[in-house]
Symmetry: C2
Subunit: 206 residues, 2 copies
DNA sequence: ATAGTGAATATTTAATATATTATTCATAGT
DNA sequence: ACTATGAATAATATATTAAATATTCACTAT
């Protein structure tokens, strides 16, 4: 073999440094947004050269993409805890899931307004991410629907189609532009009304 | 009296010219959007000076606002015809109303992509218009809900709150940004699924 | 007084030059 | 070969200026 093979711990150390870079980017992105964060800043925070960042990520946009995916995973883990709570009926579970999602989004937007900037940039440049996010949450919602079908006889045809319909009816509560014009109380009220209708629609006819 | 009173037909003729101006603005706005339409173009189309426009509208933005309100009224009239159709059950009426609204929005966006530009400008500068539009459509939707309550025993608490919830669940079908990424068939499918759920939720329990 | 205008002024937008920043690459140290 | 860097280049953003456009106003005609 002409070239020696990689050291077996290369992936690990690479992975660790990638995480460090993402940690640094995370802080900058959340406070400054995408455009106003410079590669030199991220590198500086880590005491390394700008050029070295490119050994770990092909571009700034790719850092933002990985950052976004980490955000998705964090939110999904937080929602997963809600889905897995055992002390609720299916209806209460669905309600809790929707409210948890709203509260999470609202709080993030409140704490890091610059996030809006990243959302806009990624929606334009990496449209697949939108689908990635939706499908992650759909997977969790599908668990709730499946449980409701089994234990409460919810009227469900195709679980994924139903899940997509429900998620679509929640767009107002996941889109920064819309959320920004309303108070949390207003959002909770309307979401509650939508949920009443949805849950009623799911319950079986006697 | 020092100043003679207004000629009694002044309001009428003023009103007529205002309409003429709006007709001219309509053509320009729909094809060129807000920013790219110049006051000089509108005036030129009418064979008058730019300055004269200001005798009828205080600003370009006010012309756009009146234009938007005319658009709302046109859409509302078209929806009103659907609401007033006698040959449908309440459920069919609701379904027809939602689909008519989607088709109207989709067709407008398809025929006049520049409309997006006007929507953005007006949402930023005249946020009240959003509320004006919503309340206009809410009024019509409320008629359908009231009829369903009366004739089919739909479970309705506050009609307006329910109407707002339903309209909110339809945001995806009234927002250019979202519509642009989907085909009409996709939009129809998801809206149909949402409607199934909604209508099921409204029907009384036996 | 009412309808209208040309010309002056104030804002916006478009074009350009300038400066930052992203990205690449040849090279050094291990 | 692996990690890393400084310096070069390419792409973007910022600042500056020029041009276009919105808006005002003093004035004409009726």
């Amino acid at each position: 073999m002409l070239f020696p093979m990689k050291r077996f711990d290369t992936d690990l150390s690479d992975g660790q440094l990638k995480e460090k870079i993402l940690d640094a980017a995370d802080k900058r992105f959340k406070t400054q947004g995408f455009k106003k964060t410079a590669m030199a800043e991220i590198a500086g925070d880590l005491g390394m050269s700008t050029a070295n960042l490119y050994r770990y990520f092909p571009s700034k946009l790719d850092i933002a993409e990985s950052f976004a995916i980490r955000c998705f995973i964090t939110k999904e883990q937080s929602l997963k805890a809600v889905v897995e709570a055992e002390n609720m009926s299916s209806s209460e579970g669905l309600r809790a899931f929707a409210l948890a999602s709203l509260h999470y989004n609202y709080q993030q937007l409140q704490e890091y307004p610059a996030i809006n900037d990243i959302v806009v940039a990624l929606c334009a440049e990496r449209p697949d991410l939108v689908e990635r996010k939706r499908s992650g949450e759909l997977e969790l919602l599908a668990l709730i629907i499946a449980r409701g079908k089994k234990s409460d006889g919810w009227c469900v045809g195709d679980i994924n189609e139903l899940g997509e319909a429900i998620l679509t009816s929640w767009i107002m509560f996941t889109t920064p532009t819309f959320m920004q014009h309303q108070t949390l109380a207003q959002l909770e009220k309307v979401l509650g009304d939508i949920l009443n209708l949805t849950i009623n629609g799911l319950r079986p006819r006697t």
